[in-house]
């Protein structure tokens, strides 16, 4: 209180103090280097070890896949050691020659425009569904889950009545089959997974226990055994004349498998919906199905979209397993091309696998980036809503 008489004395600075320079070893490039690479003897050792590893591994890889690689040619001669290239690298010429086989399998050459059209139609559906700002996404969903499957079946298998000749599935192959298997898995597993998730949360004991049994059974066994079951046991379970085609059997197995996993993902989304939403929907007098279709599922699916995409990445990688039950998917066509005697050379194996790995990596990485972005967007939106609630309340 005594200080009150001193109020007139100015004890505050009137001008800002001169800025001190940044400590030499904290800011800037040098500081970053020190903090993130050379902060302690152990860290220095780790950094040197990693640098050594990169220096040892990266240049040979670049040399093998780019500098010493052979890019053109029509048979193994192109990829054998020669005077100009005594230690040949990857044989991309092999991939170029076989590329159409990798994409279409044995699909008749004159009919391949149908595959291209299918891929374009699929791309349209995927963009429509995944681009969150796309117009009329409801119609997009109908297109993807109802129109597209019918259209694809007619396009790929053929319908002689409208002039599209019949193409048996044993001629399908390569990336076409990989994408067909993944798409069928997706188109079947999402609706079926939603139904199973709802069934598992149902209060009807019969419905609930059937769903639990199916989901836990499928999730408890390896996909290969499900595929074996589909390809060996399924033909036994139906009358002989109805025995499904080999590809269809694998598709049934994959769809069953994916549905069980999708059901758990959707259930996770359903669990995230607050109870008040159910109560509000009931208070409005909505029936069970309308409540789920109009109130619960739109929110649950939005929340769980990143998980759905991640499940789909798993499904996409798992499509390679149809290889084992004798379906010519992309990986199997690569494997088959390896045994071509016209191309027999030591580099073929690595080149083929590298090409396949690149394909799967690009697809899966793009999807996982997308999932990450949606997740961040949801988190931001959730944060905003949270802030608004706090402000209002």
């Amino acid at each position: 209180m005594a200080a009150a008489s001193d109020m007139t004395v100015s004890f505050l600075r009137q001008t800002p103090a001169a800025r001190l320079p940044t400590p030499a070893l904290r800011g800037g490039v040098a500081g970053w280097l020190r903090a993130s690479l050379f902060s302690s003897p152990f860290n220095i050792a780790l950094t040197l070890l990693c640098a050594l590893l990169i220096a040892r591994a990266v240049p040979p890889l670049i040399r093998f896949f780019l500098i010493d690689a052979n890019w053109s040619g029509s048979d193994r001669e192109a990829c054998l050691p020669s005077a100009g290239n005594p230690d040949p690298g990857a044989c991309w010429a092999f991939v170029r020659v076989w590329l159409s086989y990798f994409v279409y399998g044995f699909y008749p050459i004159g009919q391949r425009w149908r595959v291209d059209l299918f891929l374009a139609a699929l791309a349209l559906g995927v963009v429509w569904l995944l681009w969150l700002g796309a117009p009329r996404r409801g119609i997009g969903a109908i297109y993807f889950f109802i129109v597209l499957p019918v259209l694809s079946l007619i396009l790929l298998a053929g319908l002689p009545a409208i002039g599209l000749s019949f193409v048996p599935t044993n001629l399908w192959g390569g990336i076409l089959v990989t994408i067909v298997v993944a798409t069928v898995g997706m188109v079947v597993s999402l609706p079926l997974g939603i139904l199973l998730a709802l069934a598992r949360r149902s209060h009807l004991p019969m419905v609930k226990w059937l769903a639990v049994a199916f989901i836990e059974f499928v999730r408890g066994v390896p996909l290969i055994t499900v595929l074996f079951m589909a390809s060996v046991m399924l033909p036994l379970f139906v009358p002989e004349q109805l025995a499904p085609d080999k590809l269809v059997r694998a598709l049934i197995g994959v769809a069953m498998f994916a549905s069980a996993y999708m059901a758990e993902v959707v259930r996770g989304g359903l669990n995230a919906i607050p109870r008040g939403q159910y109560e509000a929907a009931e208070a409005l007098g909505l029936s069970y199905w309308r409540m789920n279709a109009l109130v619960i599922l739109p929110q649950a699916l939005r929340v769980t979209l990143p998980n759905i995409v991640n499940t789909f990445i798993g499904l996409f990688k798992d499509t390679t397993l149809v290889f084992i039950v004798g379906i010519f998917d992309f990986l199997r066509t690569v494997e088959a091309a390896h045994s071509d005697p016209r191309w027999a050379s030591p580099e073929i194996g690595v080149t083929g696998y590298a090409f396949a790995a690149l394909f799967y990596f690009v697809c899966c990485y793009a999807m996982s980036r997308y999932a990450r972005r949606v997740e961040l967007r949801l988190a931001r939106r959730g944060g905003r809503e949270h802030d608004r609630e706090r402000r209002d309340g």
Binding site: A35, S36, L37, S39, N43, L46, T47, C50, L53, S202, H203, L204, M206, V207, L210, E216, F217, G220, V221, P222, L223, I224, T225, F228, M229, V232, M233, P235, L236, F237, V238, P239, E240, E282, L284, G285, L286, S287, Y288, I313, K317, D318, T320, L321, F323, I324, L331, E335, H338, P346, G349, V350, Y353, A356, A357, Y360, F361, C364, Y365, S368
Partner: protein
């Protein structure tokens, strides 16, 4: 308002009243009838089709002579005398071998990479991150075929074997290592090891009590290590070193003696370890990040050193988050080991759902048994997980 008024008199159908509501009961009965009908029809068709193909049914084949060879057998097995039942156990043991070794290796690699991803060293974190992204986004089957066909099969032939230190060989027929040969006296060393571990545990308990009583800390780690490794070593020397190694001996066409690791086993182990480790790394990273920074700051405020902070504060809380998804990665590894069939490693699926199924033709029984094994492993694991979850939940407030 009018919409609500019209709809409101009806109670929500799926709450409270459902047990009484006849329509829901009818639905359930109808569902049951449909499922039962489908199973019945499938069974009838299967019986018809199998009878037409002249294939036996039932589990009688279990005791029939198998008549096929298996490239790796952990128990006695011969194609001429052993039964399909024996083949089943051989396959199952091979699956458990790959699962056990794979889980240990993947856990070690996964924890190292997960922690490396969190390192403050930019280069280390980036390298670990790159590893995870690349490995996770390439199908396991592709990686497996790569290791098997492009790496192991491209190794030199028998004659050009790569000699490894300590008398091992590596070639395209597998990895040949010195094989430990245990003399009968070796049991004493094992007993000494057990005694050493027991003594170390006893010492730790005593040291903790002593610290509680007097506040004085006794060294624990060094004496424990000394007794665990020292005691068996002394016994080993005293007993006259009852352990020799069978060095592989390279002949013209074959390598005799030594421990042979099939290329199939090596490729499968390598692919499963590398693949699963990427997923375990993510689990570990998420677990460590789940420990709030305030916990670490609080531990430092209490004066704990870096080691104590990690051991007493971070790890116990991180493990609570890590263990459940870690277990599901272990289950994935076990299920993924069935990819063995693609390269011909004789695991359960390859031996049983492959060879036995082809010979007997009894698809229903064979596939059912195979699935039952995996289902059993999964269910037991998830029961244990629930149990663990309950223990951890008790520790929480």
């Amino acid at each position: 308002m009018s919409d609500v008024a019209r709809a409101s008199p009806r109670l929500p159908p799926h709450r409270e009243r459902r047990g009484l509501d006849a329509s829901w009961l009818v639905l359930q009965v109808a569902l049951f009838a449909v499922i039962a009908g489908l199973i019945g029809a499938a069974g009838y068709n299967a019986a018809q089709n199998l009878a037409k193909a002249n294939i036996a049914h039932g589990f009688g084949f279990w005791n029939n002579t198998a008549g096929f060879d298996i490239s790796q057998t952990l128990i006695d097995y011969s194609s001429s005398t052993s039964t399909f039942g024996h083949a089943f156990w051989v396959g199952l043991l091979n699956t458990l071998l790959i699962a056990g070794v794979g889980i240990v290796l993947a856990t070690i690699l996964g924890f190292v990479i997960g922690i490396a991803r969190l390192s403050r060293n930019w280069l280390v974190a980036r390298l670990a991150g790159g590893y995870v992204e690349v490995i996770r986004n390439i199908p396991l089957l592709l990686q497996l075929l790569f290791w098997y066909n492009a790496v192991l099969k491209a190794l030199p032939e028998m004659r050009g074997s790569i000699a490894l230190p300590l008398g091992g060989f590596l070639n395209n027929r597998g990895l040949f290592l010195p094989k430990p040969v245990f003399a009968p006296d070796f049991e004493a060393v094992v007993i000494a090891l057990a005694v050493g571990i027991a003594a170390a545990i006893g010492w730790r308990i005593w040291a903790k009590r002593y610290q509680a009583r007097t506040g004085e800390q006794m060294p624990i780690v060094l004496p424990a290590l000394a007794v665990i490794f020292g005691l068996p070593f002394i016994v080993f020397v005293v007993a006259g070193k009852p352990l020799t190694f069978g060095i592989p001996d390279m002949g013209r066409f074959n390598i005799r003696g030594g421990l042979e690791i099939l290329p199939e086993l090596a490729a499968l182990l390598f692919a499963l370890t590398v693949y699963t480790a990427a997923f375990i790394a993510e689990v570990v990273r998420a677990g460590v990040l789940a420990v709030p920074a305030g916990q670490i700051e609080a531990a430092q405020t209490l004066g704990l050193r870096a080691g104590g902070t990690l051991r007493l504060v971070v790890v116990p809380q991180a493990m609570r988050v890590i263990v459940p998804p870690l277990t599901s990665q272990y289950l994935n590894l076990i299920k993924n080991s069935s990819l063995a069939v693609a390269i011909g490693y004789p695991d359960l699926v390859q031996v049983f759902a492959g060879s036995v199924l082809n010979i007997t033709g009894q698809a229903v029984e064979v596939i059912a048994i195979t699935m039952a094994v995996y289902l059993f492993i999964s269910l037991v694991t998830s029961l244990l997980m629930n149990f663990y979850g309950r223990i951890v939940a008790v520790a929480e407030r």
